[in-house]
């Protein structure tokens, strides 16, 4: 009964944390939209070589409607009637980005990836060691490959039965996990081996 509670709490917790994570990323994005870095907005004009002038690149922090050659190119390297010809070759583009969003997103992603890798290491290395200590050496028989998937806890049923005797948190998590694994195994067997619909 308590393990059901625990499972439910775990589900609820994971659901909440997922949505909180997503909404916090969104919030960060909106906040960064409000407080733009000075360098994050600019109008960039690239002007190719013209007559004797070598080409040049001009950057300026300016609004989008003013982003053209006349506002950005300062000082103008040519005089008078040549200005129009010079400006016709220049390519001006308005660019903006949000460096804070990028930083936050990458760091959040790397931390989630790191947590998942730690969890994976725990599942593959630490858990069998812990189990061996709790339940004795004889329990952990490895079954052979089934459709290419390794099923490390083939006799989950026995482990389940024995685990009822002790009642601490680790056992409760263990119990919920074993029951889930047993369910998956049963389902797989009935669907792919016996070709029957689950009843």
């Amino acid at each position: 009964m308590a393990s059901l509670w625990y499972g439910g709490l775990l589900r609820l917790g994971s659901g909440f944390s997922l949505s909180c994570l997503a909404l916090s990323v969104l919030l960060f994005a909106q906040l960064t939209g409000a407080a733009k870095n000075f360098e994050d907005v600019r109008c960039k004009c690239i002007c190719p070589p013209y007559k004797e002038n070598p080409g040049h690149i001009y950057n300026k922090n300016i609004s989008q409607k003013d982003c053209d050659c006349l506002h950005v190119v300062e000082p103008m390297p040519v005089r008078g009637p040549d200005v129009e010809a010079y400006c016709l070759r220049c390519e001006c583009k308005y660019e903006e980005r949000s460096s804070v969003t990028i930083k936050v997103t990458i760091i959040i992603y790397l931390s989630i990836l790191g947590l998942l890798l730690l969890y994976m290491v725990y599942l593959t290395l630490v858990e069998p060691i812990l189990k061996r200590r709790l339940f004795g050496h004889s329990q952990l028989l490895q079954s052979d490959d089934d459709v290419g998937d390794h099923q490390p806890f083939a006799n989950a049923h026995d482990v389940l039965a024995r685990s009822r005797s002790r009642a601490n948190v680790l056992n409760k998590v263990e119990y919920a996990q074993q029951r889930w694994k047993l369910q998956v195994q049963e389902q797989r067997k009935s669907v792919f081996d016996r070709h029957v619909v689950l009843s």
Binding site: L23, L26, L88, K103, M120, L123, D145, V196, V197
Partner: protein, 716 residues
């Protein structure tokens, strides 16, 4: 089973207002949904809420909340899908460039973001970027030379292998294998998002659009489980999932309308009109959220948004239709080869080593892809470069045209120019890249990693299209006095836009593989922002669909459904055999008689035995067994268990028998019946359009008629 003592024999009205049995009416995996029953349950629930809303203010507010919960769910789905797509885009951008080098000022910047802050001011230096260093520069302090090249090559391969290995181990360990229980669960959502980034960054020939639809559906499933209106009714939950799929495609392409049409055409089985409007809302919210995260720094949604408006000419329809034919042929080739390879994976020992397979394919892809600059960069960047028209200031190899030094035209109306050396080099490099992409995608799609098909198809089409476009452009320039060019292409004018050919080629290949029609055209013109190009896109899409349909009716998705043996009755198939219902009906001669339940004379023990002995999910309830053709003995002698009855009133019982069990509520009082002379066409139509259950005999019959193995439909 409910204990007999719990049931009462009170009046009929109470029966309808009681809560149904727990666990009756919930669906497990691989069960068909009974749409009619779900619809009637939803109507009942709505009627109950409406009638109660007149009682008090609180009930009225509750009814309002119930009405608005649909829109709230759509809003939440759009927000989460847009956010996840933005995170995926940014992370893929960074990790793809991590294979080649790292930014010194801030390690979280990709190549383009790093060069944003560079202070180069001279025109010749406009592509230099000292803040970004390749691995050879970082480790060996050399940027040219053989050793630098080899080191970069090695680092590229190592990073690709690392990403692929991490992705596949995460999937295998945390989701416990590749057959995902909880297909739309929260763990699936998290793992799929994380591994999608890893897999796309490792340089494999796959896209992220297909898996984004799955991610969006997981979001839809999650949010619909928070509201009881959707969590208890599978039919309404499927509507939410249709809308979520639309939101997924919308953020993948930046095409809200295309997303809704894609959901309508490819994804959904049952799409009432109300879902159309809700899907559009979800797609818009998702697109808006993605735009505000702004992953590409230019307020666009997709990396390859193009904006030119150069006109096209009627004579160009001929190469466009040629590209359509190429797309159809490629679609057929890809579908056949991919299905053959996947079937081999399922049946031989090859399928027993999924992790090793992923590692080997990644290694092969990385080793062959690095030398060619068009396969070294990520596929999205390649498509973006191919779609773009060459301006005067482009410095890429593909735009290495011989410029006239006296040219004074403005930058976006450059006349056709002869090709320089760079263009010829680019042409044969593109040809090699095309062959490589065609071959490697066949082996990549269908592996045990999140893989999508849209981007590789578009890349193949774009490469072919660009090559054709450059060919036509050079032909028009050098032979402008031929009859076909004389009318519309004067020398000194900008006649041919190779970027447009690339777009048309991409649409043709995508249509050839997936057999999408309207949604493809809408997605492509939402991608380009130009309504002028609808006619070429339609011409290519129609041609490619015709050519591909000439070789086989199935698109890639239907083919994979058939390969896996899922019991799916497609709405697009037509049943053309002239058989009757009696050919399918059971029992036939020589088979044991029909397993029936009588209406008021079977015991609980009998029913349990019947359920254990047979595999069926539903039983007909008859008045008595004598009404069958084969007369059977009546159940004689009442045993000590209780009697089950399906009628309104309990049967007459001796005084000392235990309390009877009433199960009328799980009885479907109006099942659809067909006579044995109903043509099979009608039967298939009834099952398809009404969405009934128990249609698997129909599927087996259809398979038999098509000379396929009926046992390949796996479910009984």
């Amino acid at each position: 089973m409910v204990s007999a003592g719990a049931m009462s024999t009170s009046g009929n009205l109470m029966d309808f207002l009681d809560e149904p049995f727990p666990d009756v009416g919930t669906y497990e995996d691989f069960h068909t949904i009974d749409w009619l029953r779900e619809k009637s349950r939803d109507t009942d629930r709505h009627r109950k809420i409406t009638s109660k809303s007149k009682e008090s203010i609180w009930e009225f507010i509750k009814s309002l909340l119930d009405a608005w919960s649909g829109w709230v769910v759509m809003l939440l789905i759009g927000l989460l899908a847009g956010t996840l797509a933005g995170v995926i885009d940014l992370a893929v951008d960074w990790m793809t460039d991590l294979k080649e080098g790292v930014c010194l000022s801030a390690f979280w910047y990709s190549h383009e973001q790093c060069c944003w802050t560079s202070n180069e001011t001279t025109f010749e230096d406009r592509d230099k970027c000292p803040l970004w260093q390749k691995w050879s520069e970082l480790l060996l302090s050399q940027s040219e030379g053989a050793s630098a090249y080899i080191l970069n090559y090695l680092m590229y391969i190592l990073w690709a292998l690392l990403f692929a290995f991490l992705a596949v181990s995460l999937i295998k360990t945390i989701l416990s294998g590749f057959i995902i229980r909880g297909y739309l669960g929260k763990w699936t959502l998290l793992i799929k998002t994380v591994t999608l980034v890893l897999v796309v960054s490792s340089g494999l020939s796959l896209g992220k659009e297909g898996p984004l639809v799955h991610v969006a559906c997981c979001c839809g499933n999650f949010f619909s489980s928070l509201f009881s209106k959707y969590s208890k009714n599978e039919g309404k939950r499927r509507e939410v999932l249709s809308a979520a799929a639309a939101a997924g495609v919308s953020v993948a392409f930046g095409a809200p309308i295309g997303g809704v049409l894609f959901s309508l055409e490819e994804v959904s089985y049952y799409f009432p009109l109300k879902t159309l409007w809700r899907s559009f809302f979800a797609a818009l919210v998702a697109a808006f959220t993605l735009r505000s995260i702004n992953p590409f720094g230019n307020s666009r949604l997709v990396l390859f948004y193009v904006e030119y408006h150069t006109p096209w000419y009627m004579a160009e329809l001929f190469p466009f239709i040629l590209l359509g034919v190429f797309g159809g042929l490629w679609g057929t080739l890809f579908t056949r080869c991919n299905i053959a390879w996947c079937r081999r994976r399922k049946t031989t020992r090859l399928g027993k080593y999924p992790v090793l397979e992923v590692i080997v394919v990644t290694a092969i892809t990385a080793i062959i892809a690095y030398p060619n600059p068009y396969t070294r960069q990520s596929t999205s960047e390649l498509i973006s470069e191919l779609f773009n028209d060459c301006g005067a200031l482009e410095s890429s190899q593909l735009c290495d045209y011989i410029n006239d030094p006296n040219m004074t035209r403005p930058v976006d109306d450059i006349p056709d120019r002869p090709a320089g050396v760079g263009v010829y080099t680019a042409m044969w490099q593109l040809a090699l890249a095309l062959i490589f992409k065609i071959v490697i995608t066949i082996f990549t799609f269908g592996m045990k990693i999140p893989s999508g098909l849209f981007i590789p198809s578009m890349a193949v089409g774009a490469m072919a299209g660009r090559m054709v476009g450059i060919g036509v452009e050079q032909l028009a320039y050098h032979h402008h006095d031929w009859i076909i060019f004389r009318n519309w292409c004067r020398p000194g004018a900008d006649c041919v836009t190779p970027g447009l050919y690339a777009m048309v080629g991409a649409a043709a290949c995508l249509g050839g593989v997936t057999r999408m029609t309207v949604s493809l055209v809408v997605i492509m013109f939402e991608l380009t922002g130009g309504l002028e190009y609808i006619v070429p896109l339609m011409a290519a899409a129609v041609t490619s669909k015709w050519v591909a349909d000439a070789f086989g009716k199935e698109g890639i998705y239907e083919a994979h459904i058939h390969l896996n043996g899922y019991p799916f009755l497609d709405v697009k198939d037509e049943f053309t055999h002239r058989t009757l219902a009696t050919d399918v009906m059971r029992p036939r001669r020589g088979e044991p008689p029909l397993s029936v339940l009588t209406q008021d004379s079977m015991t609980v023990e009998d029913v349990e035995t019947l359920i254990k002995e047979t595999d069926y999910n539903g039983f007909p309830v008859v008045v008595s067994r004598d009404s069958e053709q084969n007369a059977r003995q009546r159940q004689e002698g009442i045993v000590s268990n209780s009697i089950m009855y399906f009628t309104e009133e309990p049967p007459e019982l001796p005084a000392n028998s235990p309390h009877p069990l009433k199960l009328r509520r799980i009885l479907n009082l109006s099942p659809f019946t067909v006579t044995d002379h109903t043509p099979m066409e009608t039967v298939v139509d009834i099952f398809r359009k009404l969405g009934l259950r128990q249609c698997l005999d129909v599927l087996r019959h259809m398979a038999q008629m098509a000379n396929q193995d009926p046992e390949s439909i796996m479910f009984n």
